[in-house]
Symmetry: C2
Subunit: 490 residues, 2 copies
Amino acid sequence: MSKGITSRNEDYSQWYNELVTKADLAEHSSVRGCMVIKPYGYSIWEKMQAALDKMFKDTGHTNAYFPLFIPKSFFSKEASHVEGFATECAVVTHYRLKNDGSGNIIVDEEAKLEEELIVRPTSETIIWNTYRGWIQSYRDLPILVNQWANVVRWEMRTRLFLRTAEFLWQEGHTAHATSEEAIEEAEKMLHVYADFAENWLAVPVVRGVKTPNERFAGAIETYCIEALMQDGKALQAGTSHFLGQNFAKAFDVKFTSKEGKLDHVWATSWGVSTRLMGALIMAHSDDQGLVLPPKLAPIQVVIVPIYKSAEELNRISEVADALVKELKAMDISVKFDDRDTQRPGFKFAEYELKGVPVRVAMGARDLENGTAEIARRDTREKQTVNQEGLASYIENLLGEIQENIYQKALKFRNDSITKADTYEDFKKILDEKGGFVSAHWDGTPETEQRIKEETKATIRCIPLDNALEDGVCILTGQPSKQRVLFARAY
Amino acid sequence: MSKGITSRNEDYSQWYNELVTKADLAEHSSVRGCMVIKPYGYSIWEKMQAALDKMFKDTGHTNAYFPLFIPKSFFSKEASHVEGFATECAVVTHYRLKNDGSGNIIVDEEAKLEEELIVRPTSETIIWNTYRGWIQSYRDLPILVNQWANVVRWEMRTRLFLRTAEFLWQEGHTAHATSEEAIEEAEKMLHVYADFAENWLAVPVVRGVKTPNERFAGAIETYCIEALMQDGKALQAGTSHFLGQNFAKAFDVKFTSKEGKLDHVWATSWGVSTRLMGALIMAHSDDQGLVLPPKLAPIQVVIVPIYKSAEELNRISEVADALVKELKAMDISVKFDDRDTQRPGFKFAEYELKGVPVRVAMGARDLENGTAEIARRDTREKQTVNQEGLASYIENLLGEIQENIYQKALKFRNDSITKADTYEDFKKILDEKGGFVSAHWDGTPETEQRIKEETKATIRCIPLDNALEDGVCILTGQPSKQRVLFARAY
């Protein structure tokens, strides 16, 4: 199969778009900004969901489901929230279509809603309106709830997975009796996200907090994990917010403490989305196609027979079937591709494109020698291996590949953090090298905004446990106590 | 805890509503017709999802995701489909809100969509519009795709789980090269649903086909499973449709056959929804609360200590912890409720309300005797059992309870199928006994409609493998070759 993907060097953005489409991950739909997640792409997302869901449950959370629609008035209740979300959302105004008499289907103007409904862009408002009925006393706290759902934000410029009008995500919404407990929860979930990104996606992340400018609309503190893509642009991979009492006050959610005192409840929310698919693809893949970390690969091992006759295929199938059985018993997902409609070379290219971590090829000579040819997707190295103990060899190799992909991304990320002490240097690094630029900033939103306008770089985060260091702001020369991480970002 | 649920005899409908709310399954939201599925209810739904999803995958299906929104014009493409769905749907007309200058948030009239979008009530149209790009040749077939999603149908009278404006469901959409293969798929999925209903929900179902009147809008044949609730009303628990080439024609989806002939693709669709939660609740529960089949119970076993001192609790905890460990190793979900804020009697009532299948109570005397008190939720029987071998005893008991709940529902259902040979008898049975009435019908939509108007009973289905029998229609006296099943229904 001819892959014909633009190379990363030629046009990184084009490479990404083609890869997503040709590897059967997703495609644009007829509805502006909305994507179709195809079976192969969705099966990766399902693996992400399963791993995350287990991590949420292991940390005491349960799932629930809240309405898709939010009454318009709810948005006005939290002042900064409405500014952040109301400006780009799908608005439901009617609840019926009708036939206009000449066969055209039109909106039935008589079926106008009294109050317009917003398709949820995020669910803080509807959930805190619900929590009011769930919380009376400290005994009802904490509430540790997560929701898997679709949300809609009316984006004008969309890209598959990275920015779509509708996307899939999970949103955790927790309620606590104290500020300390809520902050602890927000931080705990940030670390869950970071663990997931590093151990499953094999994407190293910087853990940090956002500047006030970049905070979630309605949050007191936004924690984030920031990843680096191969083109040197950063990608926000997950956020966890300490919301203080903002939503509890907006929706009048109070509780009686152990001491009998009435107080507003403390909140967090946290989410990751199908955007992680974009991060996964852009962090590891190459000009031949996807490179998937084994833990998230829908097919971890593919076996391709190389034969000249039905008799040869039969003999190969016998060995292959036994290997399939062994691998399945080890919980490794494996496919034996004995289609006779395609030649081995076509299959090799197809599985490279789809990022299958390990390919096993077996021909007549392999049978004679008791060997198989193993190709790993990450390094594209091939090796001839004895059939004896092959399943264990593959099991180890999958672990090695997972680790290697991570280490490669980690080295790239670490090599891409550059210090800049002058504004000239700062701009030069952004233009010539990309990556994160670690620089002093005077702490004002105005400076941050001006740097953004002049360089398109934003402060990705102030890393957690940042080292203190005296310096001066690269733009204004004002004193600064610590460096922050700038980057151009998705 | 005081349950205070209306009894079934007093008011079945009220009993249901109170049970759903008090057992923490779901509640009404602030958005008309939309429900909040609470953590306990959602965890049952998750178990249903997991079991169904596995059954779908075992039969060769994969999941994917299609847009929430459907362009209005898509609905007009399949003539009967538009009549069925366009009249009750949420319509998105705008994509932005704005501040009107005096602090009010209003719809921004400048952000009006060129074409209105419908929030999907079902996805045949958007999916078949997508399949056009996926299918060129017989090699691309079959496509066996399922989607887990939320859908919206603007219902005027809603009831938690049974009929809500937004609900959760799965919808399978498959594409085939031949009519035979599509029919086989539609029937296969009907049997998957029936197996699921009987083996997981413990709800016996009649497998059948709908009359033309009751068919899905756009289907050639609608297969269904029909369950019976304790009040004698039927509930459609799942449907599987053979769609012929209707949607392929509407969306111009053709393929080249092996023989090089161009033809339209054959389709099926099939779905079950959170309505199954309603069926589960209404089929088994009693005046004390939920009765859950063990396979779907979020907590299968609860252990309640009965103690007078901390020292006693410590000793009980030792035994309980060991039991918890043993049960968990058997993959049985168990909770040891050692809360000191509630008394045992309160806990007993709470777990009865929530339908926990097995309750283990242990007090000081049990420790002395090496016993425990076991109460099963289905029959409410108690028994004193030796601690030795207790885990295995409980494992067996859970299997027995699952079977007993099913057998009880099966007996009730079988006792509730009554033959009627005259219209008088027919009406009398409906009013006095309820259940399914097996009667002759002349096969015309007019007769079906008149019976519905006069008795509120509809033809639930023509059972598969129905016995042929000469008779005359209960309403018109016209000749009939088989009986069909009537009932009043949810």
